[in-house]
Symmetry: D2
């Protein structure tokens, strides 16, 4: 039973069926000049209620790095949280795709940065000073790497600070659906209406095989994206097989249903664990991912019982993630085991 | 009816079924730590009869650029044909992934370079001269961009020249299966036994959805490949869906059957066209791709009749490509139409 | 006696004196915020009769690579002659500074490209096609690497073709002074009036210790140049010592006097050699550099006699370069020796 | 009167004379194949008592970035202090020259990192994990950006931790002479004997016009340095003018005399200020640079009196730097003024 990550899971049935159907449709124009891709852009426009431009890619790292590549000159400085995926877990992809921009990290609870810290950091004299990397963008993760959630107001405050100094705002939305499900916000409210310029819109972790979209709320920013995607090796000849996944993901609110289920499973896990002695849940963890500290015997015992998760962040701390297809029985089994071990 | 490219086609049934089966198998370790990926490496070892290392990726450009990134220092010079895909059709991906290496182009019939030309080019004093980009690798395409085929002897001659000067040899095998089918050579004979160090082993054009493998015949060369793949955004979390395609592609010689069919269809097209007045077939074109020059009325008429192909290379010249699933009836229809137009 | 290159020579007395004077002036603002640098920009505005922006750097490779870095996106294609210094002799600096742009080479006599060849090359379908590197600039060398001279009309024709397709025009003017001296053109006539957007204005080869200027005729192009120069390690803290060289170089037409002398010495050499049997002068060679083919005994004999030059370009071919301080007696000695050897 | 930086000063007379003499010597082989460059390497070998390899360059940023470029793969992580010059003041040059390596910052008093912090940081699981940038080097500044001094023991402890994990050790020695003068250590003791692999050996701030050397204590590390220097535009054609500065700098212990004077002047300033009410000296500041906090009226008054320095690091904090030619009368004048303002 796996609570290690939402990327170990299978694909959602409707998404796999969409791939099969895309194949049954016979030959199609290559390189994104197909109907599936066109339809996905239309779906995203409807979802976000604006005239956006979007590009399918197949990995989250590609989505993030390519998104940043159009925001950052090579001499730029990008601000992000010190545990941001782009800083820690992409083996330097943002530096690679931006031609060497510098990631400057900010502290903050729950892996969230805040407007005041960013503001103070931007007042340090770098802007316009030829010796310093030039602040050009800020990136936030929604939900964050530790399961935190930015409110629309928090995002707007960060974006205000950023835009005042001509920085662009990127959102790493690898688990964007889970954020939406947890916040009940409209997609537009926690993105472009709050000042987000570019979104990495994830689907892989929430039921796709391999599909993400880079969403530009200001199409002008996307002017050379297509060349950068090709040059990164991320333009698929049979693109329809990526786009078909996104189409099915967006159709009938599958993305939302999947995210709601994953969130519900993690909340069940959270409430169950919180009631046990010696358990600390870190942060609010309102979506499908949390960090908890258990006693060492509990951690060891759960592993022995066959549960999979990452030990991370220090003594007794583990990360738990629920997926779109997490079985409630597995949650209950985990809780029972934990309860037994806590005695 | 489409003779424009082998990348407009669907996936082969067995490959799609393998993806479906990989999904039905339940959760799997992410990022290539799955059983499918392990098995694919084993299959490639059997196929090439050696102790190679291999990495699945999802596009041909990624395969080429990542392969070159481990062969080239940023101040290096890479030799390739002037119409090589890496030079013309990857929007600068090789320069991107190598950190700015220079591609130096060589002429040659049928998009083939030859050992003598390379040898002469390497005698120009660049090696060791601090002012010049440093020759570090040569890349050949098999089959070539115009449908040509390198013999084992031709490859060995190029590799000899290259290795004598400490250059590595890369083969872009986007249509490697078609080369094998056309040459009846053993895979090892036209790769490592002839001196190829790294192969981009293509599957997408020959029946996969999106799957290629970078094959290192000298595993030492691959030491940091995994980091470079991740940093390029080409490490898939649900890697099994890429590897499963390759597994099915390699199983039961599907790759060979597909390539043989594609080649047979193109040969039928070639023979039919060659018998018509005013038609010139360029090069030997022994596999599944050829350039032919027709009269303008023929080209126009074929297009009006609904046939798709690229006009390329000059007045009346078109490129024709057959795929693993090209229907012989479509070939015959094309030939009939051409015959009628030639009168 | 050295005819190998103009970069083996000493500095012109007035330039060295300017460095000494800059030192005697006491402390100065660092990083180019000094008076010398301001004055040099003013001198260049006067010389070129326009409101340009200029930046001192210390090497020709830095000037070229930095100039190109603001013209080229990393996915761009830059057109230049196949023997251009930027292609052959800068160890990949243009690729480095542009983040991996592709240099596409064009043929042409006397190391000159021509408008028609460029025009034809730009009609090959790359522009706007996502698979191809995107044409963004053309670079010409004045005088060329083989001693050729572009006329104002030839430059304008190239720039017309380039600008029509939104390409920028760079001129590598490592020996720009020699071009001016040879052509009697006004500086503006063979630069911005003919369509040149950015000029690498050389001084090192013509009497400086180490000083060049990157001249932007359209100051808007220079918006982020300062950051790129700093990031390349080319912003000198004690910049005045570079700028003082340029100031002296530009003052009292020293640049022109130096170039005229160098050209005169080479012309004397050329006329003397041309009158000998078995000697072929290649190209018009109107400035201070030429390629000539001599008989092997002549080449060997001249070397034995202690003359220094590069053997380059094939059997019996050598490159001869005159400098601002070439002694006419040395020219005559060379000619006498050659004459004796030709008998 | 300038205490803002040691890079606003003139060149030391002996160094300027060396440049004049190098010019008087007539033509010389270009690109570092001259006698001055050879002699400098010999001097450095004597100074450091080992068989090192060294390369002159003209700026500190070039020295640092080029040194790091041979230590770091593009997917590497480099550890340095959070206020390191390479992190803050080189506009991203290290990222540029390494092809996008990530700089990971560590805290520490007096701008010094310590072995324990580095050790803990290296135990976080990044090494060998494909998702994380790979730790490959650590860089320390001697003296630090705030005037701190590493002891031989502190350096050895850091290098031990680094080498145990196969990281290389770089030292930014922009003010290395001042460190030596302050520590009375042998050059070898605080470099290679303590585990430093590569040193940026500064001269510009201590009396040169523009001259630094990149010193490789393990010549094997330098194998491709020459190509990287050329490609960065840092190979000077008339290299002797850079090397002549270094030769004079190293001759007769000029470097040491200059550094001792600068240190003495700063110490005099420090002792004078420390005795005043309301003055806080930050850190030990044993060399030629310190940060002090004064009252606002003192800072304002000193500026009004014409003294130049940087306000930096917060309310009332200023940076003071003494140079090789700082006049003791100016120090005393500064102290008198401060004393008067403190009443």
């Amino acid at each position: 039973v796996n609570f290690a990550s939402d990327n170990t899971s299978v694909a959602a049935p409707a998404i796999l069926e969409a791939v099969i159907a895309a194949n049954a449709a016979g030959p199609a124009m290559p390189y994104g000049n197909d109907d599936w891709t066109k339809r996905v852009v239309g779906q995203l426009r409807d979802l976000f209620e604006c005239d956006l431009t979007a590009f399918p890619v197949a990995t989250g790292t590609a989505a993030n790095a390519l998104a940043l590549s159009v925001l950052m000159p090579p001499y730029g400085a990008l601000f992000c949280h010190e545990v941001a995926h782009i800083q820690v877990d992409e083996c330097g992809a943002p530096e690679f795709y931006t031609g060497g921009a510098k990631l400057v990290t900010l502290p903050g609870d729950d892996a969230k940065i805040d407007a005041a810290t960013l503001d103070e950091r931007l007042r340090n004299g770098w802007i316009g000073n030829v010796h310093n990397p030039q602040p050009k963008a800020v990136s936030i993760t929604q939900i964050t790497e530790t399961g935190g959630l930015y409110s629309a107001g928090e995002i707007a405050a960060i974006a205000d600070v950023a835009h005042r100094q001509h920085l662009k705002v990127h959102m790493d939305g690898a688990r964007f659906a889970n954020a939406l499900a947890a916040s009940n916000a409209a997609p537009a409210d926690i993105t472009w209406r709050a000042g987000v310029d570019v979104l990495s819109f994830g689907a892989t972790k929430n039921g796709a095989l391999a599909a993400e979209a880079v969403v530009f709320f200001d199409p002008k920013l996307a002017q050379d994206f297509a060349f950068r995607r090709k040059r990164g090796g991320h333009l698929f000849s049979k693109m329809r097989f990526v786009s078909a996944q996104l189409e099915a993901y967006l159709a009938n609110d599958l993305w939302l249903a999947n995210a709601r289920h994953a969130n519900a499973m993690l909340q069940r896990l959270k409430q169950g664990l919180a009631s046990l002695p010696g358990v600390t849940v870190h942060g609010a963890a309102p979506a499908n991912l949390m960090y908890v500290t258990l006693s060492n015997p509990m951690v060891d015992g759960l592993e022995r019982a066959g549960f999979k998760f990452y030990r991370e962040g220090g003594e007794g701390m583990i990360r738990l993630v629920a997926a779109f297809n997490t079985d409630p029985k597995h949650v209950d089994l985990f809780l029972e085991t934990a309860r037994r071990l806590s005695r």
